[in-house]
């Protein structure tokens, strides 16, 4: 029995020793009574050292260990209580503390058997897992924020949808590699922003590109409208022109919006007369308002200083939009435009402008969105009243860009009031002079215009318009050519396109003013008044500008007012006297017909004339002077065919025949010197004109 017991005891012992989990028995006093090898290993102490010592001392938290131990005595056992054992050299081992009391045969508690399961690995794995989890979670978070950013970016730029999708995709990949994702997302945002920018650029460029052909379409339609047309043709052409005008308005609107969006809109600060400026602008609506049987009421606060500094063009644009809306949506009643001084201090005034109509009104629910792009009060509005829904968006942008505010009040069926306030600086300066309106009945024909313009269609259009005015014109393909022409020929005025290859309008003007010291009037031609730096135009010395599509009347007025000013009346008279009626003496029609407008042949013919005629003039004069009648006869004789070729009036042919007659008979001699002089002057004029013609042909056909 004792053998068996000993044997059993030995067996139990070897099991205990084999366990990797520390096993220990503690007596009721807490002292270690027995242990296995694992405990010795984990604490780094020998069995001898351990035996009889306080068990709790080997834990990092002895108090907690003691509590656990007391729980064992109280509840007979404890399971999986976490504690940490300390190696004598400091190494810590996490254990799960399991214990149960053991009793003698009488049931008296002898002590506690404790198994401390080593959970270091588990714990490490758990920690790692936890960390991994946290890492994963934060990664997800970053990725999500990246994704959100990218999605925002996608929203910002509808055009950039594709880019944003890439970004979303990139962001999803970033769930795995959060840092990369963040970076990619930032890239995506940047790309999206660039996409927005490029969208605006595209819009701006496109509008510009569309305008160029539109200018030609509208311009030539105008020219065509002036020719003899049947009623039907006139009707159709008018339709083309109206559609063209509408399209230009739309393009301008888009361009304006794109510009405001891009923050490129610039505002002038020029002194102007507010009252005059506004009433001139409202004048434009008179016909329209009369047509619709409406009444236009103007209320202008007399206390507003007469001259203010601001941007009259933009102010016009704002009021124009508001009033044209008012007119559009009002079928009966009146439109009130009132301008009131709201406040005034030393430097500036705040003015409230309001436009009130008695029109259809705007539903309350729509008041909030009425200023957004492409919004009209109801989707049916555009069907009924037309329009793009860009007008108010532009108005709002224009007002806010100048630090103003805009408000709308409206009641359906009663009407709307749009009001905005803007600040204007006060000034003592005089306002820039108003456009000189010249009576169009005053015929001024002998004006020589140099047009610097690179686009062939526009060249042709300018030619047509200027021919229509009866002005002489010459075309230069760029600024450089214009300067070359200016050096050899006298012109009265230059129309200068701003954007040209080789040398642009600014450079050319600067050269003409500074290097050539010429004061010739220069009008800038620009496709796009909004971007053009008017200040720059003035700085280089341009006298004025005109926007394309060129309004013929405006162009005519500008040319006349600029040309008239610097030329004293006396000199003008002089010119008339020496050159007779200086109408163009040549007519290329015959030559064009004969050569079938072949430019090379025409140029050959003209250069032959230019070569031969001076010799003939000399011979003619010489003949008269030397009384060498044969010589006079021959020279004049040879001149005769050239009159017909160059389209010079038959009057001169008859004069030449008279001279010829005289040379053979030598009668009526007293008239002859005068007749010869007339022939000389007409031939000289023809030479001058043909030279211009020659250059014109050359320049248009190079």
């Amino acid at each position: 029995m004792s053998f068996i017991r000993r044997h059993e005891s030995q067996y139990a012992r070897s099991l205990i020793e084999a366990s990797l989990d520390p096993l220990v028995t503690i007596n009721t006093k807490g002292k270690i009574t027995d242990m296995n090898e694992a405990l010795a290993n984990i604490t780094g102490m020998t069995r001898e050292q351990l035996t009889g010592t306080d068990f709790f001392d080997y834990f990092t938290e002895p108090q907690k260990a003691r509590e656990v131990y007391q729980i064992v005595f109280a509840n007979s056992s404890v399971a999986d209580s976490p504690l940490t054992l300390r190696h004598k050299e400091g190494k810590l081992t996490d254990v799960l503390f399991n214990g149960s009391v053991y009793k003698d045969n009488q049931g008296n508690v002898l002590g506690v058997v404790i198994v401390a399961r080593d959970v270091t690995d588990q714990k490490r794995i758990a920690t790692e897992l936890n960390e991994a989890k946290i890492a994963a979670e934060s990664a997800t978070k970053v990725a999500e924020s990246a994704k959100k950013k990218a999605e925002d970016a996608a929203k910002i730029a509808e055009d950039a949808t594709k880019t944003a999708e890439d970004a979303t995709k990139t962001a999803e990949d970033a769930t795995k590699i959060a840092e990369d994702a963040t970076k990619t997302a930032e890239d995506a945002t940047r790309i999206a922003e660039e996409a927005v920018k490029s969208k605006q650029q595209f819009l701006s460029n496109m509008s510009h590109e569309i305008r160029t052909p539109m200018n030609a379409i509208i311009g030539f339609t105008k020219v065509l409208l002036k020719t003899d047309l049947s009623a039907k043709q006139k009707e159709y052409l008018t339709a083309i022109k109206m559609s063209g005008d509408a399209l230009i308005v739309l393009i301008n609107d888009i361009l304006d919006l794109a510009k405001v969006d891009a923050g490129k809109m610039s505002f002038e600060k020029t002194p102007f007369k507010m009252a005059v400026s506004l009433s001139a602008m409202l004048h434009l609506f008179e016909t329209k308002i009369l047509e619709k049987n409406l009444k236009l009421v103007r209320e202008y606060d007399k206390t507003i200083p007469p001259v203010l500094v601001g941007d009259p063009v933009r102010l016009h644009q704002i009021i124009l939009n508001l009033v044209s809306n008012a007119v559009k949506f009002t079928t009966n009643g009146k439109i009130t435009v009132s301008v009131n001084l709201q406040s005034e201090d030393e430097e500036k005034v705040t003015i409230r402008f309001s436009v009130t109509d008695t029109g259809i009104g705007i539903p309350e629910t729509r008041l909030g969105t009425i200023f957004e792009n492409f919004q009209q009060a109801t989707s049916g509005t555009s069907r009924l009243y037309g329009g793009t829904g860009l007008g108010l968006a532009i108005v709002k942008q224009l007002v806010e860009a100048q630090n103003g505010t805009i408000r709308v009040e409206s009641k359906v069926g009663e009407g709307s009031t749009f009001s905005f306030t803007l600040d204007f600086q006060k000034t003592n300066e005089e306002a820039a002079s108003d456009l000189v309106i010249v009576d169009p009945d005053v015929e001024i024909k002998n004006i020589k215009v140099l047009v610097a313009e690179d686009i062939a269609l526009n060249q042709l259009l300018m030619k047509t318009i200027l021919d229509d005015f009866g002005f002489e014109r010459d075309i230069a393909d760029n600024g450089k050519i214009a300067i070359e022409k200016l050096q050899t020929t006298d012109y009265d005025i230059i129309l200068m396109d701003l954007q040209m290859p080789e040398m642009n309008g600014f450079e050319a003007t600067a050269y003409i003013r500074k290097t050539m010291n010429s004061n010739i009037p220069i009008i800038a031609l620009t496709a796009d008044v909004t971007t053009v730096d008017l200040a720059k135009c003035r700085a280089v010395g341009m006298n004025d500008y005109i926007a394309k599509p060129v309004d013929e009347r405006v162009l005519y007025n500008k040319i006349i007012s600029l040309v008239k000013k610097p030329v004293p009346v006396i000199e003008n008279k002089d010119r008339v006297k020496t050159h007779g009626q200086r109408i163009k003496c040549i007519d290329m029609e015959y030559l064009a017909r004969r050569t079938k407008s072949n430019p090379t042949l025409m140029m050959e013919m003209i250069s032959l004339y230019l070569e031969q005629t001076p010799q003939l003039i000399t011979a003619m004069k010489q003949g008269l002077h030397d009384k060498d009648w044969n010589c006079l006869y021959s020279a004049v004789h040879k001149m005769i065919p050239s009159f017909a070729i160059m389209g010079i009036s038959t009057d001169f042919e008859n004069i030449a025949k008279k001279v010829q007659e005289f040379a053979t008979t030598q009668k009526q001699s007293e008239d002859i010197p005068e007749l010869v002089l007339q022939l000389e002057s007409i031939c000289e004029q023809a030479c001058e004109e043909l030279e211009v013609e020659f250059n014109a042909i050359k320049n248009t056909n190079v």
């Binding site: 013919m605 020279a635 040879k638 065919p641 050239s642 017909a644």
Partner: protein
């Protein structure tokens, strides 16, 4: 005449402008070979080029007193080969001038005017009609 060859025309006039205009018109309207000369002398030097028709200005000595005039040039041409048809051209609408030209065996006399080219064209056509008739006549004569 050779039908495969273009008709070769000599244009002789000291008015360079008019000369050029004529040349342009001839080249525009029909398939001619044109040689232009400013003086009678130049024209004579080049007679070896075998012109089919010569259009000659009456007044070639207008500015250059020593230049050969139209009639003199006409005589020289006829001396070289009397079969070359010469059409005289002048801005003078005078009967005695025309008659004098005819006496010197010019084929025709055309006044420089807007219709000059049309008349020249007609004259040339009639030259060829005449030549053809002559040829046919010769053909029949041989067989008679």
């Amino acid at each position: 005449m050779n039908n495969n060859k273009k008709i070769k025309i000599f244009l002789v006039d000291d008015d360079a402008l008019y000369l050029k205009l004529l040349a342009i018109e001839f080249l525009e309207h029909a398939d001619f070979e044109i040689e232009s000369y400013a003086t009678g002398e130049e024209c004579l030097v080049n007679l070896s080029n075998e012109p089919d028709v010569i259009i000659l200005d009456y007044k070639l000595d207008g500015l250059d007193k020593n230049a050969m005039n139209g009639i003199q040039t006409l005589d020289k041409i006829k001396a070289f080969n009397k079969k070359i048809p010469v059409i005289m051209l002048s801005s003078q609408d005078k009967i005695d001038v025309a008659v004098s030209c005819m006496h010197h065996k010019a084929y025709d006399y055309v006044v420089k005017s807007e219709t000059a080219f049309l008349r020249l064209q007609k004259a040339i056509t009639s030259i060829y009609t005449y030549k053809k008739l002559e040829k046919q006549l010769n053909w029949y004569m041989e067989r008679m």
